[in-house]
Amino acid sequence: MRRFLQDWAHLLLPAGVLIAGLGVFLVIRAAVVPKSFGEYGHYRGAALEMIRQKPVSYAGQDMCVMCHDDQAKVKAAGKHATVHCEACHGPLAKHAEDPAANVPKLPDVAVLCKRCHEQDPAKPSWFPQVVTAEHSGGMKCTECHQPHSPHIATEADAGSGRGK
């Protein structure tokens, strides 16, 4: 019996080393792994909040309408109802924050209208398209069309009840 205890004592040293090693591992792990790691899954939970902090560039149509309700009404009644303000006017979150300091420039009509309305067989057939070179003969689109309500009413429209 005494002999057995003496042999058993040899295991104490490796056991101690193992426990100490485990302890060192746990301390280093606790120090190195970010606090929120594993909060929702195998990733840093705080990353979600970090990504949310990014500033916004496009204020959104609802924000525009709060001040520019007159233009919004014209647009909502016309063919461009589904086009949000910033789709043509560009990102204006800064303008919404401080309207006086950040005055937006008017968009370049020559480039802007063509991007959507230049004829392309790949575009859906319901979408109004023109070959601009033939359609306007070099005139600016805005000479005839009002961008917020671009349809030009004709006598035929009055008969068919269109006229938007």
Binding site: A30, K35, R44, K54, V56, G60, A87, E118, A122
Partner: protein
């Protein structure tokens, strides 16, 4: 006098206590959840209506400006397919359609536009392969990258079957569509949806019973890209042609 055994015993106890303390601090000291927005109430995705896309590239420009995407890289882009009756389709995307499609498609071939972006897969390969847990599916269903944790190993870039990821040359970390997480969590729509003139792109919340997507799905046939990859994409395409890959 302290024996060697005592040293190990006391030292071991102290180490265990220290690690338990650190773990406890880790659990209790977690960052507080954000105020009004509850992640558990949302499951984000997108609906893309091919029959409404006019290939203007507004979404690509908006995404680039909103998210400061480096030149020549795209978190979203638009492809133009020309599909002949026989043979391989021709796919174009000049500069990601950043300036639309300056040249029209030939009139004698079927052609259409396909906007592409991260599919925010519910079972995404990119998340599975990340060796460090830097990319993940958020509880509200958005696949995101933790820029501070990414090593830039590009494993996820290779794993994505849709080619939606790239290595950002400025940060040297993986980059991708965040579904404008900074916008949708404060009640705004994504930059691409905000700027789509025809409503071809719609942000949808599958967990919101009032979202028009449920009505739409009841009455329309939709498809996802590469369904055989079993990635469960949350970007649904309406009117998608079989030629699209």
């Amino acid at each position: 006098m302290m024996t060697r055994r005592d040293l190990f015993r006391i030292g071991g106890k102290m180490l265990v206590l220290a690690s338990v303390g650190a773990t406890l601090e880790e659990i209790t000291g977690a960052a507080p959840a954000s105020e009004a927005y509850k992640m558990a109430d949302h499951w984000w995705g997108m609906l893309i209506d091919i029959d409404k896309c006019i290939g203007c590239g507004n979404c690509v420009r908006a995404c680039s400006k909103e998210n400061n995407v480096p030149n020549g890289y795209f978190r979203t882009w638009v492809e133009r397919y020309e599909v002949p009756e026989e043979g391989q389709p021709k796919v174009e995307s000049p500069d990601g359609a950043m300036n639309g499609f300056p040249l029209p498609a030939p009139a004698n071939v079927k052609s259409f536009f396909v906007p592409k972006l991260c599919n925010h897969c519910a079972d995404s390969p990119c998340v599975q392969v990340c060796p460090v847990g830097a990319t993940f599916l958020s509880p509200d269903g958005v696949v995101l990258v933790d820029q501070t944790y990414c090593l830039g190993c590009r494993y996820c870039v290779q794993a994505c079957p849709y080619g939606c990821r790239f290595l950002n040359p400025e940060t040297n970390t993986a980059d991708k569509c965040t579904l404008c997480y900074h916008r949708i969590t404060q009640g705004l729509t994504t930059a691409c949806c905000e700027n789509c003139p025809t409503g071809a792109r719609q942000l949808v919340d599958f967990k919101n019973p009032k979202d028009p997507i449920h009505e739409f799905l009841r009455h329309n046939k939709v498809q996802v890209l590469k369904p055989y990859m079993a990635t469960e994409p949350k970007v649904k395409y309406h009117d998608l042609d079989g030629a699209v890959r």
